[in-house]
């Protein structure tokens, strides 16, 4: 088996799932008078960065209403309650800080 003779070996990788492209929500035509949720995923001081984004909107685009919202638990858990709230009361969301 040694040397330059060709040998055949098996591939060690597992089987990936079939991926289907998911559609995303239509974008907004503009942000004036819209409510944008700033969603804190509660990881490594993400709150502080989102607060600065909130300040930016306040100073530069005051017509945009921003709502600071923490997820209900840790970022590892799905949070349908929060998503429902944003769907009912918001027009868009900025989530951070992801990793």
């Amino acid at each position: 088996m040694a040397g330059r003779d060709k040998i055949t070996v098996l591939n060690p990788m597992g089987y990936p799932p079939k991926v289907t492209r998911q559609s995303l929500a239509p974008r907004l035509d503009q942000l004036d008078d819209k409510t944008i949720y700033l969603v804190d995923c509660r990881f490594d001081d993400s709150e502080l960065l989102l607060k600065e984004i909130q300040n930016w909107f306040h100073d530069r685009m005051p017509s945009v209403r921003t709502v600071f919202k923490r997820i209900s638990s840790v970022y590892l858990k799905d949070d349908p309650k929060t998503w429902e709230e944003i769907k009912a009361n918001g027009d868009g969301a900025i989530i951070g800080v992801g990793h």
Partner: protein, 438 residues
């Protein structure tokens, strides 16, 4: 990004730049390659409001464009026709690698990140067949599913795929049932956490002796073929069967972890332990064989024996040195196990665990200020999860328990050359039957 896809809310995700490859590949794997992502510099943690304001006013370090311009465009710029098209991606893994010389294949395996960077045994058909002969399971039977982190997609694997990785690790065919049980756990030994986790695997029951596993002197060190190659196989199968463990893409451990080479794999020293074996504590009979998997191995504290006067203080100091998120598993040399009985009267593991639970304490203010407590425990406490909610109400100077009793464990291992012992900060995941994979 369920909020965008399932709830119909236009959303932008803000990440730090060091995660660009991993978050993009996660988005692709979840069918959302067109997800709107914006990047700021790393790190956010520890930065002042002024520094973070500069991030927001500055440019995305990946694209060079203003961060807030990208945020606004992410919410308002319509998707192109191609982005909106529903598409299915068929992905498959070939059974064979293109034939080549041994030298070229060894290089290919390394370049493809299919190894742990140490030499491997190439998985020829003959070697894999010999491995498969030691299980009654069919080669094409699905063993399980694994992924490197919660946000990624699960990959699937068969008995043959596990055997291929076992060959690569240098394992003997008779080890295969233990390796299959580890694969069946579905717990990855190559988690991608930035915290650089490793895994620990504890084998119990008659299989330990049948395979010649080491439970005594040097059990956790590279001095036993079964311990070493079963642990290595667990690591290799994890990285390959879950779809990779590549720094920057599918592995983000900032410092890495030497335990990952062998996944701290050993047998419990049942013969010299004064207590019930670990697998019996978890529902198995003594005559059954099983392997138990622990994740999050990072912090280790160690000591020598238990001194008569201050042993309680010494153990408390060790416990307080652990991070508050990761509970303790005591790894006790048989000599130390008996010292715990002599000093504290702990004639069962459960009694020792109860004492550890009651004595692992720190002032509440200190506890809740740990970044790991802030990230992973504080959010649960604020939304009422007990006992964390009650512990959150404690006064800052009040000592509170650091862990939950159910998460504290004891394993006996070592050769009685001295009563050295250690506490491994790690999280018990599950115990899997080995006998079912024979």
């Amino acid at each position: 990004m369920k909020i965008d896809h399932e709830y119909g809310v236009p959303t932008v995700a803000v990440h730090t730049a060091v995660f660009q490859w991993v978050v993009r590949s996660v988005a692709r794997a979840n069918g959302m390659p067109h997800m709107r992502q914006v990047f700021v510099p790393q790190p956010v943690i520890g930065k002042s409001p002024g520094e973070l304001s500069a991030y927001v006013d500055g440019n995305d370090p990946i694209t060079g464009r203003p961060v807030m311009q990208e945020v606004i465009e992410g919410l308002t710029a319509p998707f192109g026709a191609e982005e909106l098209k529903e598409t299915t991606f068929e992905r498959s893994t070939p059974r064979w690698v293109e034939p080549a010389s041994e030298e070229d294949l060894s290089r290919l395996f390394q370049e493809n990140q299919w190894t742990d960077q140490l030499p491997i045994i190439l998985p020829t058909e003959e070697r894999v067949a010999a491995m498969l002969a030691r299980t009654s399971r069919k080669p094409d039977e699905v063993v399980g599913h694994m992924r490197p982190t919660d946000f990624r997609e699960y990959w699937e694997y068969t008995v043959e795929k596990v055997a291929v990785n076992a060959v690569m690790a240098g394992a003997k065919p008779e080890y295969l049932p233990v390796i299959l049980a580890l694969a069946a756990s579905g717990v990855s030994a190559r988690g991608s956490s930035t915290s650089s986790m490793a895994t620990m695997a504890v084998v119990n029951g008659p299989i330990r002796n049948r395979l010649g596993m080491n439970c005594g002197t040097g059990a956790m060190a590279p001095y036993n073929h079964a311990n070493a190659t079963i642990g290595r196989a667990y690591g290799l199968l994890s990285q390959n069967l879950q779809g990779g463990s590549v720094p920057g893409h599918t592995y983000m451990g900032s410092q890495g972890n030497g335990y990952a080479y062998g996944s701290a794999t050993f047998g419990e020293n049942e013969e010299r332990s004064p207590w019930e074996p670990f697998h019996v504590q978890h529902g198995f009979k003594p005559a059954e064989s099983a392997v138990s998997v622990f994740t999050g191995c990072r912090a280790t504290a160690f000591s020598l024996g238990l001194r008569e006067k201050h042993w309680r203080d010494h153990v408390r100091n060790m416990l307080r040195g652990l991070d508050p998120r990761t509970p303790p598993t005591l790894l006790l040399d048989p000599l130390t196990a008996r010292m715990f009985i002599d000093r504290g009267g702990f004639d069962t593991k459960e009694k020792l665990i109860a004492w550890i639970d009651d004595n692992a304490r720190m002032p509440a203010g200190e506890f809740w200020d740990y970044q790991l407590a802030q990230n992973y425990i504080y959010p649960r406490a604020t939304f009422g999860e007990e006992p964390w909610a009650t512990r959150l109400n404690a006064a800052p100077n009040e000592p509170i328990q650091m862990f939950l009793r159910k998460d504290i464990h004891v394993v006996v291992v070592g050769g009685e050359t001295n009563p050295y012992w250690r506490i491994m900060g790690c999280t018990y995941q599950k115990t899997v039957s080995v006998d079912e994979w024979k």
